[in-house]
């Protein structure tokens, strides 16, 4: 039977469903009887969801920098037919 310390070490893998069935059962049994670990599990899941939304917008580039990056791409030279 898992204790709480062991559960917290496995919690991230648990979110990613990375455990074999026997370990999953062990974790579920522990979560059934331990409200503190249920809370820990909830906090971890909500933290990652919140941070993922923020990361998506935080890790964007402003328009001016994007123009600059685009200008450094070597575009194919236009042929007379394109003119």
């Amino acid at each position: 039977m898992l204790n709480c310390k062991q559960f917290t070490d496995l919690a991230s893998d648990h979110l990613d469903a990375q455990h074999h069935s026997w370990k999953r059962i062990d974790i579920r049994l522990h979560l059934m009887i331990c409200r503190h670990c249920r809370r820990f599990n909830r906090h971890l899941e909500r933290s990652r969801r919140t941070a993922a939304v923020l990361a998506h917008t935080l890790w964007q580039t402003d328009q001016r920098s994007s123009e600059h990056i685009f200008s450094k791409i070597h575009l194919p030279a236009k042929t007379p037919d394109d003119q």
């Binding site: 709480c4 310390k5 990375q18 906090h43 990652r48 939304v53 890790w59």
Partner: protein, 204 residues
């Protein structure tokens, strides 16, 4: 995470050579590709590698067949550019394998039998939607995201933002799958600790 870049109409614009669509793509993905390049090739080469990746993406976009999402396809391109830069420079991955000791919750929170002596506290702001409405908390999380070590940042980005499988992340970043899991655990615990601290004190 749903994004405009996976909209077929947007992809059609890119493939027809619409440069303003391509600039929007750069705007949405340059920082993300840079994080991946940095995690593979290190800070010195990352800018260069990402710029080369954009040139490759621009040249190849017409041939993108949609077998994976556009973001996964771009991530693959920047990863390949970074790996070939490492080979050219005859260097190994800047991070390599990390120690697999799992960063855990402060052991002082548990008694000698491993049960909580200081259990997690109740969060007043307890849904992602409510947390996102709290300006100061957003700033705290953004700060933590910014100061995460580069390899944790890359793994968090690939798994929790881009939702890529752990095995694919390992291949992309040339680290073992076990290391991906350790890095992810560390990143998530650190982000949770930031939120927890804010919930308890109202400060970062």
């Amino acid at each position: 995470m749903s994004q405009f870049i996976n909209d077929p109409k947007f992809i059609a614009r890119l493939q027809s050579g619409d440069n303003s669509a391509f600039k929007s793509l750069i705007s949405a993905y340059h920082s993300k590709l840079l994080i991946i390049a940095r995690a593979i090739a290190g800070d010195v080469f990352a800018e260069d590698v990402t710029q080369e990746a954009w040139a490759s993406i621009y040249k190849a976009i017409a041939k993108f067949e949609g077998r994976s999402s556009l973001s996964t396809w771009m991530i693959q391109i920047v990863s390949n550019e970074a790996k070939s830069r490492l080979r050219r420079e005859k260097r190994h991955s800047s991070y390599g394998d990390i120690d697999e000791v799992v960063q855990s919750v402060d052991p002082d929170n548990f008694n000698s039998s491993g049960h909580w002596s200081n259990p997690p506290s109740h969060w007043d702001i307890n849904t992602p939607e409510l947390m996102l409405q709290e300006d100061q908390l957003r700033q705290c999380i953004e700060h933590t995201l910014t100061v995460l070590p580069e390899n944790q940042k890359a793994v968090f980005l690939l798994r929790d933002v881009e939702q890529i499988a752990l095995s694919e992340i390992a291949e992309t970043l040339i680290i073992s799958e076990a290391n991906v899991r350790v890095l992810l655990h560390r990143a998530r615990l650190r982000l949770m600790a930031t939120i927890n601290h804010y919930q308890e004190t109202g400060e970062c």
